[in-house]
Symmetry: D5
Subunit: 146 residues, 10 copies
């Protein structure tokens, strides 16, 4: 079973069960972002979590096993065309050097890890229109000298 | 005066004054991310803030005027090669569809604005190694039907 | 059902019914541009409109449901090769900076939203040859400072 | 004198004179979009208009002559990175096929000319936030058969 | 029926009938270049010509109908790899600016239309080796000022 | 002297002398297309013709010598953005396979040479608007078998 | 039958018959390079040679006919990734200007034809390790002046 | 001194001395292809050969030293636009897989080295037009197993 | 049988047998890196090793034969998106010139062969987190002069 | 002072002093790879090491300061053309998936860090030709779940 077949099965079951990503995540005790990324085939799930996801959606053990496999990541376009995805690309184009300058100032020469990393998405109520809040948190890794 | 000349003058003055971005931002009453992006030429400053920035760095009125000009934005490479910048590109490649799915679930069909938008960068202490925390907050814009 | 399958079914029914996009739009009380874009899979339809579109074309509920799904947008080539599409790409190449300069002059630093946005296409009679008139109208979004 | 040198001289004079594009256009009896595009080096001006533009800005005859030269057009990036320009690229990605379908329906097989073409940009007041209105009008050119 | 299926059917029938493009064009009263381009799916045919083409090749009405549909044009690679096609790309690379300079000199600022356009291909006998003669003829369109 | 410096000198002299390309070509006994391409640095001139071009424009021997040098050809963009140049790119996208099919039918498997090649550009008067006529004539080269 | 289907059939028959390209070429009286290129679908074969190839491999007349068809050439990647193919790309990157300089010196301004062209590949014994010898021979084509 | 400055000096001296590449190569006892490539900055010369080249052209020791430096190679475009260079690119597109198949047949799995490699260019007289003969000879390197 | 089909069969058998790449390599007496690359279709196996691999996995002779075929190599993206693969791309971007400088210093002008080449991957225990150790060893090939 | 100016000064001083990278590295107590990368502007040096490097080369304090600045990394081409650099790109194309498979097997789902990373380059004597040995060692980073 490929990751694409796994994702198709998971989406179909989630739709049938009328479960949100948030509700599914709550059932398996993980965050909504990570749970969604694992179901979309961009992260591998630990065996016990994989079994919980499959069970929560009434799916068989082969789906759980597919969830544990290590995916080849990053299939979307380098420059995305969908407006939702593009806005994040644009943020990098406009604020990339700013982020680099401020990480350098606060931490020294190094990067924010995208591996030892977590993300959360929240809805912030606002009378002028609710806002999307994205929080990313990654370990600072200093460049090694040797 | 081009934005590039303006940025060169601002960086030289900031170095001479031994000011951090954070300290400069505090002096002018704006956030560090926005202040840095304006000084790097990716945002235009309101006239009063531009004057405060120039004064804080001991620079002349033409720098303040250059800060108020509306820039052509987004000069970095579409796929960045610097490791700090690339990690954010990678986050979009790996988590882009996840973000879209969760915005859709929480808000309906629409995007997070990258214009009515703010960002903050913080240092989170952690015994296993301090972490970079990036918080983005943009207005949700629903697709219009007509 | 994928958006591509949905579009194929809608086009076949529209051809069989000999309906124009304009007539279909009138039946469902929406504009021709938006109606066409939803049927071509580039916009999602509110549930009630989706049902009206399906009914107008004698199609079943699963088509209506497919119309309500949120699409991944923007599948055409970055530089289009079809002459109709290319002319609009060319207009951006030639007039892009002009548009930016005039929006700046009239509104300040900011953009025209492509989300809170509508478009109409009209035929203008002209003795030297009729003309295509495209009207775009999008909310001005000023860049936020923070 | 290159078109780039000409544009630099025109922008400097316009700034010094504190003229808007709109005011400059009114002085020379042309539309703001066309006037701006000629000054930015993307259109050539008829000799009499070129002289009026140079005069309105207090510039010499060589600027007028440079305005009459036929430019090599379209220097911006194929996929623009500036948010103002990108939104128009996005409109083409999302609505390109829709525009083609509706021109076909209203006119038959052919294109909207980008040469026998005009454009206007207006501000539409709106209590929920003013809107940018772009009107394009190009001659319909049917594909020839032979 | 897609244009690709239509072309496959037309080529098979043409081969079976041992008709050349030139003979087919003569039978339907159109030029060989236009007839070939319509059969290869790059131009739409008027209904009466479409019927003649289908008849000449002993094909059914659905082929005629497919010939009348308006195609999405320009599927070959931007930089072609086939030597026949590449040579024309090379001619543009080497002579493009020359063509622009001479059209400017003879007509003023404007373009040769590729829509109100015709092309013919002829064999010119030559004792040193016969030559291919391509004649393109397109309406001059002056850039509009407004 | 580089070809770019040579072209700049030739264009300045041509402007000063108020010579057209056509008149210059007539003076040196060559066609306008070839003469223009040599002056724009895309073809090398035989020594005697080079001297005639330099003389006709009142230029020195080093310009003549520069005209005889063999250029590195093809500096324009692979996908041109100027509308005049783009239309020829579009013709290749739309009619490339048609041209290949008709050369094959008339000559067998082979190409039209772009080296043993000539081109002429003419103005064809037409009451509905004058037309640009481009005539290309290249030797047919059959693919060798061995 | 497509060229790809033809090649698949030819390769399967060649494997079954345990014929080398060299032996097949000898049987049909052509060179190994040309024979291989025709079987791989990059050259068309004269009818008599096509029949010989089909017979030598015990294949039917439709394979012979497919061999005579004129292919769309050049399907490999512009920058190849296979190490064998890449080395030839690298030779062009490193020695391209050298080749141009030496052809210019020996022949004047012109090119080596890749159409009126032949190639041979030989094994040269060498005690330090055998060597691959590639010999290309193409007609010199001088640039035409007109 | 950069390689580009070195090449400019070498070309100027060669022109002044009216030396061909072939004559220069003979004077220094190396092949014309290698000598040209070293002078064009794509190969480094052994110290003694570098001195001979500088002397043959009446140049100083710093040119000899620049000739011995190890260059960053391969500056031409990935897909060349000059017709001379492009024909070799086309040969790889059309004959690449053929070359791979024949090297495999003659030598086993491996490549022709582009480093332990030599090339010669000759003029072959032919009554139908002289021909360019390019001979490449590189060591066969079998893929290692371990 | 294509290499892709072969790899699918090998991966399925390896999973069923619960064999690691390391264990499989030990069984056939080859290194893990080479064995994995051959099974993933990027290297050809000698006949005896191919038979051992097939036997170790309980597969038939056609798999062994497929393993001996010479592959078209290098199918992954030029700029990989998977984080594991990208880090090695990044190492080349950041350290490429350093590696060139140090090979030049230690060996003279030449390259490290990627053909006469081996690689090993080891786990290095480290109290601060275990480390991946990659060892590459390729023959130095000096640039030939001739 | 830019990093490029710094590197130029460092290379000139190193040449004048006839120091190898290895000797320079030994003098400052760091590894040759890291020292070279810092001098080439791809890594920042700690202040004390920067001072040692400047002193070892007889350079002033502003060079030391430039060495401590945090660079924008990765300026070489995405697909390098120099043969030394390309071979490492090719290794990634051919062995990338193999490396991923073996890291996965030895460590689980995660990457080798290119930041907490070191590299060494050695010469391995071999009677059949000395070999380049590259050793990379990076911390394994497991993908976080949250």
């Amino acid at each position: 079973m490929t990751k694409a077949e796994m994702t198709a099965a998971l989406l179909a079951a989630k739709k049938k069960k009328k479960l949100t990503w948030e509700a599914l995540a709550a059932k398996v005790g993980m965050s909504p972002v990570w749970t969604t990324s694992a179901c979309l085939g961009q992260n591998s799930a630990p065996a016990d979590v994989a079994i919980k996801i499959a069970k929560a959606l009434g799916l068989t053990a082969d789906i759980a096993e597919a969830l544990t496999e290590f995916p080849m990541k990053g299939d979307t376009k380098a420059v995305p065309t969908d407006p939702v995805l593009y806005r994040f690309h644009e943020i990098n184009l406009v604020y990339g050097e700013t982020i680099k300058a401020l990480i350098a100032e606060k931490f020294g020469d190094g990067i924010m890890s995208a591996i030892d990393f977590s993300m959360h998405i929240d809805r912030v109520e606002d009378p002028k229109g609710d806002r999307v809040k994205i929080t990313m948190c990654g370990k600072f890794l200093p460049y090694k000298t040797w």
